[in-house]
């Protein structure tokens, strides 16, 4: 499949004849294989791969933004199920996307393997013998020298060697070739793409990624139950996670207070104290955006942050049935945050609270709002529900939502009970249900804990790809032949010809230099340039 004729082009060049498939089964298979590994089909597959990626940026994707997918499904109730059937919400995990890149890689392997053998043979082979009539080639020089043929060939060989040519010498000719690295680079580039795929697969099988919300003053131990969500690789034993633990000592977010950028974040710092294993000494470190903490092979990234207002709930019997911080989720740029408190132990009825946390609170005709993301004037707005929280119903529940199907919102004189509470203020519930007190807040950090053993392979593959693609594009493949013929008393005629695989190089310069170097000992000129046959 690799052509050794010089006029042919680089990369994968052989052209499979187009035509109807042959009738016999064995021939058909061969035909299919040759089609698949042909350049034309590779080109089509590359195209398909590019086109197939596009919907992944047009439709929201489950892997990256499940909330947006849910929103899209709600907004397009007729279209969405069809899109879903076509895997439009998971393009990069869809069978058709997988089929395209699998075919592409089969095509790639089918092309690279035979070419590697051919190249290995070419690396061991001698440069092709000199053509009979060098002066008939497009680029040639011919000159006289008083040197003996042997001396002239020695001089030419030395000059070519300096330019790192591989040389084959007969009594009257030199054949030289350079630029083998071009094909080497080309092959390694394709191999490096395979390496990148392997690296990604290793990461998918042996890596883990999870996120955990950690409150200030609270800790996290690296066991599967402590994660808010975790996606372990297929071959990962989650009972065998590295035994580190950490504590969030303090979280600080600072925001720009003036100018165009008012309200945008300046800096996030999570101060953590961690131990690599129980009983080990603890270490203090800051985690920032762009500065993850690495414990062994596990990286801990700071992905997000928010507020967790602290509540104390007393029930109708006067018992404190809930006390502590509750993480609320930021809902807008000024960190108006929403959350719920579930109090299943309250008597006489279970209680549920839904509310807002407003870091810089403001209530006007637009309703409760936050004016700035920093907690300058923090307050909470609370609504009250009573009834059955549904925690024993077996239905899965989110900690950020109340299941109000068996609950009713509490009223006082027909009005829904609601209140804006500042630090230390309490809301007394009607009908002897109890009370809820807001007592300040702590901040929380959303940490991503991940390990990916595929990374070194990926990095190696990427580095190899970069070096080899550069070689394959910039190394010039060139052949040069020299023939000497003795004339007169000890002199000779030197003929030099060169051939490039691609046009537009510096072949002329090199031939001139070689002619000069070959003739130099006798101090003769550089000879005449051959006429251009075109």
């Amino acid at each position: 499949m690799t052509s050794t004729t010089v006029q042919k082009h680089d990369l994968m060049d052989e052209d499979v004849p187009i035509g109807p498939p042959p009738p016999r089964a064995r021939d058909l298979m061969l035909w299919t294989w040759r089609q698949l590994t042909s350049m034309r089909v590779a080109l089509v597959l590359l195209f398909l791969l590019a086109v197939a990626s596009v919907p992944g940026s047009v439709f929201p994707q489950r892997r990256t933004n499940p909330v947006a997918v849910a929103g899209y499904v709600e907004a397009h109730p007729d279209l969405a199920p069809w899109l879903d059937r076509l895997s439009m919400f998971d393009v990069f995990g869809s069978p058709w996307f997988g089929a395209i890149y699998l075919l592409l890689f089969v095509s790639l392997v089918g092309c690279v393997v035979p070419r590697s053998f051919a190249h290995a043979r070419a690396l061991r082979a001698r440069p092709p013998a000199a053509p009979q009539h060098l002066t008939r080639m497009r680029d040639h020089r011919s000159l006289d020298t008083p040197q003996k043929p042997e001396q002239a060939l020695d001089a030419a060989a030395a000059a070519l060697r300096r330019h790192r040519y591989r040389i084959d010498r007969t009594t009257a000719t030199l054949s030289a070739e350079r630029g083998y690295l071009r094909e080497t680079g080309n092959l390694f580039f394709h191999v490096s793409l395979l390496l990148i795929i392997v690296g990604a697969a290793v990461g998918g099988l042996f890596g883990t990624r999870g996120t955990v919300v950690v409150l200030e003053g609270a800790g996290f131990t690296n066991t599967v139950t402590q994660y808010n969500d975790i996606a372990p690789g297929r071959l990962v034993d989650v009972a065998d996670l590295p035994p580190f633990s950490l504590e969030l000592v303090d979280f600080t977010a600072t925001f720009a207070t003036e100018g165009e950028r008012r309200g945008t974040a300046d800096e996030f710092v999570a101060e953590v104290r961690y131990r690599t294993a129980p009983g080990q000494p603890s270490t203090d470190r800051d985690i920032r955006v762009n500065a993850p903490l690495t414990i062994g092979r596990t990286d801990i990234h700071l992905l997000g942050h928010g507020y967790a207002p602290i509540f104390t709930v007393t029930d109708g019997a006067g018992t404190v049935v809930f006390s502590g911080p509750v993480p609320f989720l930021p809902a807008d740029g000024n960190f108006l945050s929403t959350g719920v408190i579930k109090v299943p132990d309250a008597q006489p009825e279970q209680l549920g609270f839904s509310g807002f946390f407003l870091p810089t609170a403001m209530i006007d005709e637009q309703g409760p709002r936050s004016l700035f993301p920093e907690a300058l004037n923090p307050a909470v707005v609370i609504n009250v529900w009573k009834g059955d929280l549904g925690l024993d119903s077996g239905r899965p529940q989110s900690v950020f939502q109340l299941d109000t199907r068996s609950m009713e919102q509490v009223r006082d004189d027909g009005e829904f009970v609601t209140a804006l509470l500042a630090d230390g203020q309490a809301l007394d519930l009607p009908d002897g249900l109890g009370s809820i007190t807001y007592g300040g807040y702590v901040e929380w950090a959303n940490l991503q804990v991940s390990s990916n053993p595929g990374l070194p392979i990926l990095l190696g593959g990427a580095g190899l790809a970069l070096v080899s693609v550069t070689l394959s594009l910039f190394i010039r493949r060139r052949r040069i032949w020299v023939r000497v013929t003795p004339v007169g008393a000890g002199g000779s005629v030197i003929e030099i010809a060169g051939l490039d695989r691609a046009h537009g190089g510096d072949l002329d310069t090199e031939l001139d230099e070689l002619a000069a170097a070959t003739a130099r000992p006798a101090g003769l000129g550089t000879g005449t340039k051959g006429p251009d046959p075109t």
Binding site: H9, A50, R63, E260, L466, V469, L473, A502
Partner: protein, 330 residues
Amino acid sequence: MSTDALSNLLLEAALVVYAGAVLAYLAEILLAQGLDRVGVAHGRTLVGAATETSTRARVDPGPVDLDPSLPPAPGRWSERGERAGRLALPLLTLGSGLHLGAVVARGFAAGRAPWGNMFEFAVVGALVAAGVFLVLQRRYEVGYLGVWVSAVVLGVLGFAVTVLYTEAGPLLPALRSTWLVIHVFAAILATGLFTIGAIVSVLYLMAHRLGPVAGRGRLGAYVSRLPDRSALDRLAFRLHAVAFPIWTFAVMAGAIWAQYAWGRYWGWDPKETWAFVSWVAYAAYLHARVTAGWRGRGAAGIALVGYLTMLFNFIGVNIFIPGLHSYAGL
């Protein structure tokens, strides 16, 4: 004057000077005479040989050859057009000097590498395109690219200043990283090179289409001064061949930074997806160049598709599609 104001002033000056360069290049073309007035057939002429040709045309009008069977000869630059044309390159050089000054001043004003948002990306990208042309101009006869390059640079800069303008300021925490400097600069460099590559590919297709009528009319006078198609194809290939590894590096540097900042090297974010699409398109171009049936026009077409995906990634993805890169936006 603050460095920010200085930067803006230099940018406006660069716009004016670039506009001058565009006019000078246009004058050279529009004032040229088509062949049908003076018809001497003598093969194709490169821009470098234009002076000689036009002088001869003025002194010796030559025989008026009306034989339609002869191939059309190149049109000539007129003397006035040529005088205008001689101003073009100095203007373009001066414009890019001012442009470079604006970028440097912007860097000092913001206290960081001046490519942290869409405005700065466009400004530096235009500078790279102008710079690539000026470097090419020193080594090759590429004067015929001048009108296109100066027009594109002027257009991009004008778009940046009027639509994308953002005050110099610090970056969001997520963007404060050495990788920003590396990743984005590589992306800008590749974009600038791909831009010039796309221009050459367009000229290749134009020469292909207009080939038979070259030499007729003013456009013909311009087209007849283009180098032959295979030389255009080679130049386009070289530009893309330099840009492709740089783009590959830009994508990889982005992946390394993503691993570092977000703990995942690749997440099919819209920007990543389109970077991948562009990469695949340009890989297809490199393959098409050596595939029978796709060489030449097909390959040039694919290169242009690749460039469209680059443009969409810069404009469409930043503005219309929400994603992790969207805060790099307006």
